[in-house]
């Protein structure tokens, strides 16, 4: 296997881009990544996307987006793993380059969630769950996560307020990220008063929907110096899965997909928990932050909320979380999110984060993207090149 490097990164701001089409959003991110690398051509394009068929009446995104960026003719396909689609597309790019079958690949994640009404979007997002046995009986995606949060509070005796620091931290970081959807900080009182969506999850526990695209260009590490962009090493990108429905899990509060994906990634990268300088966690809901920290091994079972304070997760903390705002503050354009995380992690390693957000000389960073409520988990570990 060849070592793989990221030589170009690109993104659009996460917003309600009513004036920009799905294909243009994707093309902007792809072209930004290619420009960053100084590349005019690539061998392959992998498009991460969840809902283009339902919300934009558009599939076959591989050929469509390749054409938009002047690369018609290359290998180009869409990869789908619900909210984990973008990191799954990244995995394809890494596999292709590592294997030697492809010498350069762009992975782009793109999602347009504001093309239709909120009602259609809520319906679309629910398709990440079991269509026969969850969605068909009235469970929204939020409701599924609410069932987890309620049980977690019951089993371990936490109060709802205890989750607030994760959310406050994400918003505080997003306020300094020009590409983030939310530029406003929030406080405990606003968290307490936020409208309930599916009890106990309120609006501020949930990541906001938005439109956006993010992309990276990967090449064999041995070729990386032929490109302009500052080189980042891909130490691991690994996938682990779990049952799609919560009810089929022996212990729904233990995300086995997260555990499997993290263990594989740590093994591939040859790293341990203490080596991770920051963690772009999949904070789609506050409860998922907590359960992820536990299944990753950063916290004991039931005790992740002990990390909900600045000394643990702030930018100067032991394990900074969601350093660019996370899903909560940057926004969650579902099938694009995993590549936003990877672009942000690479930006931190390059030392190019906004001053207020830059972690002090990170060497090894982790990004974890989850499709469904823990069903498909992709963990990436990136390193500064030695």
């Amino acid at each position: 296997m060849r070592e793989v490097a990221i030589v170009g990164i690109g993104q659009t701001p996460v917003e309600e881009h009513w004036d920009i089409s799905l294909r243009e959003l994707a093309a902007k991110a792809v072209l930004n990544a290619m420009d960053d690398a100084g590349a005019e051509d690539v061998d392959a394009l992998y498009v991460g996307n969840m809902l283009s068929g339902i919300l934009t009446n558009q599939e076959n995104l591989g050929a469509l987006i390749a054409e938009c960026v002047g690369l018609s003719g290359i290998e180009a396909v869409k990869i789908e793993a619900a909210c984990g689609s973008a990191a799954a597309a990244f995995r394809q790019a890494v596999l292709g380059v590592a294997s030697g079958m492809i010498d350069s690949a762009v992975a782009v994640g793109v999602e347009k969630l504001t093309e239709m009404s909120g009602r259609a979007t809520t319906h679309g997002l629910a398709t990440a769950s079991d269509g026969d046995y969850e969605m068909a009986i009235g469970l929204s995606f939020v409701a599924i996560n609410a069932l987890l949060m309620r049980r977690y509070m019951h089993e371990y005796g936490w109060e709802k307020n205890d989750f607030a620091p994760f959310v406050i931290n994400a918003h505080r970081n997003a306020a300094h990220n020009p590409n983030a959807m939310f530029q406003n900080q929030i406080n405990q009182e606003q968290y307490n008063l936020a409208k309930v969506v599916a009890d106990p999850i309120n609006l501020l526990d949930s990541s906001p929907i938005g439109d956006g695209a993010a992309a990276v260009l990967v090449v064999p590490a041995e070729d990386a110096d032929k490109y302009d962009g500052q080189v980042i090493t891909v130490a691991a990108c690994e996938i682990g899965t779990d049952t799609i429905a919560l009810d089929n899990r022996e212990d729904p509060l233990w995300l086995k997909g997260v555990e499997r994906s993290t263990a594989k990634a740590f093994r591939t990268a040859g790293v341990r928990h203490q080596d991770i300088d920051l963690f772009e966690v999949h904070d789609a809901f506050s409860i998922i932050t907590a359960l992820s920290l536990e299944a990753c091994g950063f916290a004991e079972k039931g005790q992740a909320l002990r990390m909900a304070n600045d000394e643990s997760i702030g930018l100067k903390g032991k394990l900074p979380l969601t350093t660019m705002g996370g899903l909560k503050g940057r926004g969650h354009p579902v099938g694009a999110t995993g590549l936003y995380q990877i672009v942000e992690a690479a930006t931190q390693l390059r030392g190019d984060a906004p001053d207020a957000l830059q972690i002090d000389a990170p060497n090894c960073v982790m990004a974890q993207n989850i499709g469904g409520s823990g069903a498909n988990v992709i963990t990436s570990i990136l390193k500064r090149r030695d």
């Binding site: 809520t122 929204s140 019951h154 919560l246």
Partner: protein, 131 residues
């Protein structure tokens, strides 16, 4: 829900029919093709009693399209007596009366309707036991 899907799932939605592994006797709902415990593909139909205990619940205020008319409604995970956990709605109870661990039982109720001239779909919900 589309008509073929609703028809196909009738034994699950009305009867709570799953299956049991003939090799290790693990019970499954919904029915599976391969036993998750022992990987056996030899399974027989098994109808659940519909009795169980509440594992978790949530009151939904913002619902997917065809459920908007029912808001607020309660969804839940229920541990069935025979083993599996099932995702369901609760009925005949108000949110402030619901408690984790309470006994519940299956009942057939309206799940959704598709407009004035569309299908009305029925299926299982769970409620506090009626003796």
């Amino acid at each position: 829900m589309d008509i073929p899907r609703s028809w196909r799932l009738r034994n699950q939605r009305y009867l709570l029919e799953g299956n049991a592994c003939t090799s290790c006797d693990k019970k499954h709902f919904p029915p599976v093709l391969v036993c998750s415990e022992c990987k056996s593909r030899d399974l027989r139909p098994f109808t659940f009693s519909g009795k169980g205990k509440l594992y978790s619940y949530s009151t939904v205020y913002q619902a997917p399209g065809q459920f908007e008319a029912f808001v607020p409604y309660i969804v839940a995970l229920v541990d069935l007596e025979e083993g599996p956990r099932i995702t369901t709605q609760l009925t005949d109870i108000s949110p402030d009366e619901v408690r984790i661990g309470m006994p519940v039982e299956k009942v057939i109720r309206k799940i959704s309707e598709e407009g004035e001239r569309g299908l009305i779909l029925y299926g299982y919900k769970f409620r506090p036991p009626v003796d």
